[in-house]
């Protein structure tokens, strides 16, 4: 990693304050408990979790880098490979599947000309199939950023894609 890259990887003051607030919620010596949430913050802020970002989080929490890597690779919400700017995460589990999720996935694949797991050539959209998001009664659904989009139809998908195309960071919330 170049010295240049290390220099750029720092949270702004508000996020450093947030790190301090989060770690203070745990007893002395148990600050690692804040790791999952701080990784979410890092991912939202830096786009994804590459090694320099994970190393930075390790330094913030006084952990060995390996302790951060093993956590980041265990949980499916963390991107340790660079995704598109907008992740469309369509729930593919049973209850959504029987209410039309499969058709919605095929529709998005056709519309964006990518397969599940791929990113569009302009680097904007990544399509992912994910597991039950606790919205089964409002199926089919997808998550984008922190927003749930429920009761999806093809028309609604068209609208969403247009909206996110214009403003990829719509609906992003800092952690």
């Amino acid at each position: 990693m170049s010295a240049e890259a290390t220099k750029n990887i720092t949270f702004p003051k508000e996020l450093l304050d947030e790190v301090a607030r989060l770690t203070a919620q745990y007893p002395e010596g148990k600050q690692k408990s804040a790791l999952l949430r701080i990784l979410h913050m890092a991912q939202a802020h830096f786009g994804w979790l590459d090694a320099p970002v994970m190393d930075y989080v390790a330094r913030l929490l006084h952990l060995q880098p390996i302790e951060v890597y093993e956590v980041a690779t265990f949980y499916s919400m963390y991107d340790t490979k660079k995704p598109g700017l907008v992740k469309l995460e369509v729930c593919q589990t049973g209850p959504c599947s029987i209410e039309g999720a499969d058709k919605i996935i095929r529709y998005i694949e056709k519309k964006l000309n990518i397969k599940v797991g791929e990113t569009t050539s302009d680097g904007i959209f990544t399509l992912k199939g994910v597991e039950c998001l606790g919205a089964c009664g409002y199926a089919p659904m997808l998550q984008c950023g922190h927003q749930y989009h429920e009761h999806l139809t093809e028309a609604k998908v068209d609208e969403l894609i247009e909206q996110y195309h214009k403003n990829p960071k719509a609906n992003y919330m800092e952690y």
Binding site: Q25, L36, Y78, I98, G137
Partner: protein, 448 residues
């Protein structure tokens, strides 16, 4: 029926502290702080409340197991991981009426003698976490959290923290690992969390709905609570209903209701969508056995099936299922059971933490075999092979995820074997058509 948890969800502004308090919120904390912890425990025992996270373990009994060594902190951990496919009730409760959970956490923490408590919410529910976090801040600002709560001398800090996408973190020991900032690998039990939980200290893990139910139990008394429901299924239960029904959503029901009424009444699910017929039902989240149409509303004895722990389990795994997490998934005649079984198995394979080989290898193998059958490439032997694999997983793993992966496969073969066979014998037709309803079977019912 009087609702105990969701009666106020439609009151405008109920998410805010002021409205919640005006509507009678936090009364249970006022009452609890004047009781002794043991008195509260007795009320919870009397109420008959059973854990709403899936296993239905009596809450009072679980609380009584909590070790209380002198000078060692103990913790109440709220399980808001809610990842069992078909389940979305905890989200509904936290989104609509977050202070109810906080109120329950305070009263329960007091009863357990915990001075720090944690809510662990799945990472995808970030928007819900923000709602609960706001409510926690309001509770601090109004003297319900922090030091010397309402002048009682009792201190409590409440923190919400999140996961990051892993179903296994709903399992209580994996949840604890995750709360410590680790990978969510379940621990071998014993030691149980009641003795060595978070940071090796005594801990109680309870589901969101369980903790919320402590509020009416303290307000009305355990005896009043126990009058609702049927038999050992006391109180009300939140059901998340999904699938091919007219009115999907979250319902608070009296467990004395029949499944027939729940599915077909306009007040509840409103029947099967588009005038179709009921084919099958998974009544308690993806892990519980699937029931074929003729065993959904009736038991094998021909009696009305009830929406209770005992009612849904009537007949054991031969002809019954489980209330589980209350994730009630309904399938119409156009759905393919092989496909659904494949889908659930793919889910468990994806979510296996990989620590035990029967679970890690077995789920992957079942997924492959099911995929072959589903796509018309299976053989009759594959069906028996599936049966063997699931049998070898069940009971041979560190945590119950192995069982949860095995049961849906076993039940699908038990009740829908002819549909699996049809896929094998009709490899082409099964790609474009559905099998429809399976024929009704009769069962030998053991005399009572």
């Amino acid at each position: 029926m009087r609702k105990l948890l969701l009666d106020k969800v439609d009151v405008e502004g109920i998410k805010s502290y002021d409205v919640y308090r005006r509507e009678g919120g936090y009364r249970s904390v006022e009452k609890a702080l004047k009781m002794s912890p043991d008195e509260i425990l007795e009320e919870v025992k009397t109420s008959g409340l059973r854990g709403r996270g899936g296993a239905g373990f009596p809450t009072g009994l679980k609380w009584s197991f909590l070790a209380k060594p002198e000078g060692v902190p103990r913790y109440l951990l709220c399980n808001a991981d809610e990842s069992e496919p078909g389940t979305f009730k905890d989200r509904y409760l936290m989104e609509k009426i977050p202070h109810l959970l906080i109120e329950g956490m305070i009263a329960s923490s007091f009863a357990l003698g915990a001075n720090s408590s944690y809510i662990y919410i799945r990472g995808e529910y970030m928007f819900v976490m923000k709602i609960v976090e706001n409510a926690i801040a309001e509770a601090y600002a109004n003297g319900w959290l922090g030091k010397n709560i309402q002048g009682s001398g009792y201190d409590l800090d409440l923190t919400i923290t999140c996961g990051a996408g892993a179903y296994i973190c709903g399992e209580e020991t994996a949840l604890i690992e995750s709360l410590e900032g680790n990978r969510g690998n379940p621990r071998i039990k014993p030691p149980f969390p009641a003795v060595e939980g978070l940071w090796q200290r005594p801990s109680v893990v309870n589901n969101v709905e369980t903790i919320a139910a402590v509020v009416p139990i303290i307000n009305d008394g355990g005896e009043e609570y126990a009058k609702i429901g049927v038999g050992r299924s006391t109180g009300t239960k939140l059901i998340s209903a999904s699938g091919n029904i007219v009115n999907p959503g979250v319902y608070e029901i009296d467990m004395n209701m029949t499944v027939e009424e729940f599915i077909y009444s306009d007040k509840f699910l409103g029947g099967i969508k588009n005038g179709k017929k009921l084919k099958a039902c998974v009544p308690g989240g993806s892990s519980v056995p699937i029931l074929p149409h003729y065993l959904v509303t009736k038991t094998a004895k021909g009696e009305d099936r009830l929406m209770s722990y005992e009612g849904l389990a009537d007949g054991g795994f031969a002809t019954g299922s489980m209330l589980g997490s209350g994730g009630f998934i309904v399938y119409d005649e156009d759905q393919c059971i092989v496909r659904n079984t494949y889908n659930f198995t793919r889910f468990y394979q994806h979510e296996s933490c990989g620590q035990c080989s029967p679970c890690r290898e077995g789920t992957g193998w079942m997924k492959k075999v099911l995929h072959n059958i589903e796509t018309g490439k299976g053989t009759m032997d594959d069906i028996d092979l599936l049966w063997d694999i699931q049998k070898n997983i069940e009971g041979n793993t560190i945590c119950p995820l192995g069982d949860a992966a095995a049961w849906p496969v076993a039940a699908a073969i038990r009740h829908f074997r002819e549909e699996f066979e049809w896929h094998v014998t009709n490899p082409e037709l099964s790609q474009t058509q559905n099998y429809g309803l399976v024929a009704e079977k009769t069962f030998e019912v053991e005399p009572a």
